[in-house]
Symmetry: D2
Subunit: 343 residues, 4 copies
């Protein structure tokens, strides 16, 4: 059994890690920390876990992470970097589901996140935890930077285009829509049901922190500097990301459907749909899965890729556990073969 | 492995049976029928099952149910009774998730369902599939009438009161609220998102078919004729039933909380919450679980019981599989220990 | 033109007052205060008002309410009582949409609201602003206590029963369901879309502040001490209250439908539906209207009344303006004849 | 008073026409037809209209449209063309809110709508009812083709770019999201709450009928053949369209914000928001208004325009009444100055 520690488990990524780990046959949660909820049973906070987890939050200061094989950090961005060295020094491997280690360029990171990085020397060692791109590196990584939710949906939707040079990565548009859980379990006016239900809006059109992360992944994959136009939207639903991706096709003779199917043939958590499909986000609700459909309207040189994930699963906690499985030599699908909840 | 047949698997109970059976370690789906969708892969209809089930609907006429150990009938009420004899004659055991065999009194049945019963002689043999009340009988049953969704939530919420004669079963009110999936996967104007979203209404106040079913179960449990006032409502959500149950307490000295905890101490799928709790339906979303809270406002003789289930799981498909587990001598929780999806 | 002041206009009652007053032909908003948003145009906070109101929030200290004919207080309970004397002394009449002046008994008020009342001597002068019960008193009132949302729906649903002694007011149950806007425009975890959408729950079952308010109104109407059992629920929608009211009928020969129609025949904002109806809350969304249906399931002695309002309109801002119309001798329906938004 | 006839008033456009006309000070509804609901009071079908409209549906055969000044046709596409000649011959002017007369090219129309046009000679006389583009022509039109919902949001969002040649109309992408009411008041599986709530999907990516309509309007405005890439999506909400529009800027020195403000300075129903804005659809819910924000992420040559409308108001019924106001010489805003419902 893998001994798991979770730092900062009171958010939506936290509860999702707990849900998935509670039934994982080869992992056990040894400790979960929370400054604000120390002493409180996790099932008091997250009623779905009553009967599944008999565990209390402990204060981070009092927590003994030493015996853990792996630590998931589910704290807001900017916290993991303050204790990453200690966790690694203790011998545990670290999977950060926030953004602390996602960008390689410390200057870019400090620009986008508006703070000084506490351990820039670790950035080079951190592996970007997108198994479809960095599986081999993840296997041996001590520190994994779990990808953002939008970057997961967008990057997986574009990899076959970009890797093969089929699309110009400086002229791609990613119009993405997310459920409200993406804003986290925080008491914010803008996330109230009465504010966002039965409504739809774009946000952060001028700039969003996931843009450099997407560009970094696509540039690495394509060998060319990517410069994507990324526009996120807030959809009135709990979970789910739908990325609608627009690209110009450099070679109109290519069989795109075949390329996508081939690229992801061995990927357990990427599902390329038959031609003409329109995936809905509920088809991956609660599931660690990215479903993709590829269109060429009118058969021309314009490509539209539809890519859907559950932002809390393949976009966060599920992918983190997928990374854990890889890091510890387990079958990559262990504990993650859970069909989506539909309807 | 238990060989399972499903008749009429294109509704919400059908897809939920498929979701739960797809990962059940001791059951395999041998055949699933649908008149309208014969030849179509189930994953084409229910995208969440892509990758989990490689199965096509077959025409009921062409279906070979002979080799099945158990058949789930998920057709609308009035259909199962037309083939129940044949299924049983073939040696398979039958679990009907519709209402064909739920009432013992054929006249009452014909009155409430407005049709003639096709095999009234089977009513006496049918066991009402509420494990918390009829576990022993279910074990040996050839024919199980799986309870309705409302009756499950209401009956479980009231059993400890009624069994012990703590409440007068002719003066109980059940104010129940259901998500829209309870109306089935049917193209009905009244179930459109644009009709029911952001709105709330009661329906069938004069009379609802689940009233006699609830009364039958409570009468059997309490040994006194029950005559409940049952009022259902439609809530703007997909899944979930919340029953708010009002009763007058005959003996104000009783420790109700203790009674409830004691009654359900050994029940794997009934969870009595701590005093003062208010369960939300999402705490059982996707889970085969009934969560119950007991209140006595002001400490007087009025009891308020809150009982929540997922109408498609403990209120339908999950309970049906729980019954299957019991009928085939498996651990009752086999394949059903799935935490609810929250948020 | 009536000169209107609004104190504390940044909540949902505030924006609703603004929406309705913006098109009211005989009222003009002279001043609107907010401590936190002083200097901000109201249309920056509430985008629906862009183009309709060219008005900025002003600091309450700097606000000149002196010239106002009427002041609406839309601050949280406990604030209006601190400035009520001053407002009244300035010559303006005051309509408080919070709970400061709703209970006549200061001890009861202090018990339920957990604070000392700042001007108990005004309680006797305050008129409870339910026009269907106190129209004459409202006409001349200097201080109107606008009813709570639940009390409006429940009281209007029960008045004909209680006034005529048709039901025992100590054995009535009010099972009420509210949209999330009832919790106010406050950044609370429990009001997040990700927490309450696609879910349903009861709350405050042991005790809720609206119980004494309902009892006070019903007692006054019926001449007998009422002791209602009131249980509120949170429904996953923005607006709307649905009260399902249960009572025992003292006289089964009465024509209930006729009584209800007769009682409300001259009421412009109470609509008694035809027999057999089930009003949905969307039929009053955005409208200053209470729709009521009366049922006697099985024709027996149990009555079920369904009563729906929009909690922000007839349950708050709309009723406040209805009161203003009465107080200033206008046609009571002035500015309020706006059909509900459906779908 | 303008005498109004409505043909086919049982859909969502129908009820919205009724809501808006019920309080229009210079119009009265003389007749409303429905084949299926003949004899039924409109308020029985649309409960929001109880007390506002005392009118019954009449059979189209029996309807006397002769005395009407204007007839709104709210039937599905393909029906209005069968009676358009008769209506016009009777002396009434006709506003068709379906698509029968929206395309000038009869071959294109027959291709996209898959049927033969019944009165192609009227296409040349029909005026496309987008007041912001064809106000003068609408004034004298006998036959107005009311624009589609998507085309209204997209065209208004792009007009200033296209009219001034600021963007290449063959390289524009319109990523549009619509609420479910856009699919009409039809009993369709795909519009059930249980199917579309808490989910998000694209549809009709290969081709959608609104594409040629948009291209026709933009081509006329810009004097160049437009060839837009239009991708519609279904959002889990009742009302609202959010169009996210992507274009390449031909001249980066232009002050886009100023251009937009100038273009729409005199338009009563187009609201250009301040720089940096992100309109939400609820800010126009129930209102006859298009709100627009213009962005240039990074200050480069890529433009992102956000354009929101209520699909049933500015996208259908409200715009139809705006056209009626223009056609009959009324103030264009008559009966339409209704603030959006928020929250």
């Amino acid at each position: 059994m893998i001994r798991v520690g979770i730092i900062g488990g009171t958010g939506y990524t936290g509860v999702e890690l707990l849900r998935l780990l509670a039934t994982h046959p080869e992992a056990e949660i040894a400790v979960i920390t929370s400054r604000g909820e120390a002493g409180v049973p996790v099932a008091d906070l997250f009623a779905n876990l009553r009967g599944y987890l008999d565990l209390k939050f402990v204060d981070p200061e009092a927590a003994d992470l030493g015996g853990c094989d792996v630590v998931f950090s589910a704290t807001p961005t900017g916290i993991a970097m303050t204790y990453a060295r200690d966790v690694l020094a203790s011998g545990a491997r670290l999977i950060d589901v926030a953004a602390d280690f996602r960008l390689k360029d410390v200057h870019a990171w400090e620009h986008w996140y508006g703070m000084q990085h506490a351990c820039p020397e670790l950035l080079a060692h951190a592996v970007y935890g997108l198994p479809e791109l960095y599986r081999d590196e993840i296997r041996d990584a001590q520190l994994v930077a779990n990808p953002g939710c939008y970057p997961t949906a967008v990057t997986l939707g574009l990899l076959p285009l970009v890797e093969d040079g089929l699309a110009d990565p400086t002229a791609i548009i990613a119009d993405a829509k997310s459920g409200v859980s993406g804003a986290g379990r925080n008491a914010k006016l803008g996330s109230l049901l009465a504010e966002v239900s039965d409504s739809f809006k774009a946000y952060a059109v001028p700039a969003h922190r996931h843009t450099p992360e997407i560009n970094q992944a696509l540039s690495a994959a394509g060998g060319v500097d990517a410069d994507i136009l990324f526009v996120p939207h807030l959809a009135p639903m709990i979970r789910g990301i739908h990325a609608t991706l627009y690209a110009g096709l450099q070679d109109v003779t290519v069989d795109l459907q075949h390329r996508y199917e081939e690229r992801y043939a061995d990927e357990p958590f990427v599902d390329v749909l038959p031609p003409g499909s329109h995936p809905d986000t509920r088809s991956v609700r609660g599931a660690n899965l990215c479903r993709i459909a590829v269109h060429r309207p009118g058969g021309g040189d314009r490509v539209v890729v539809l890519s859907v994930i559950d932002n809390l699963v393949k976009g966060a906690a599920g992918q983190a556990i997928q990374n854990m499985n890889i890091m510890f030599g387990l079958d990559e699908t262990r504990g993650l073969l859970i069909p989506a909840l539909l309807p």
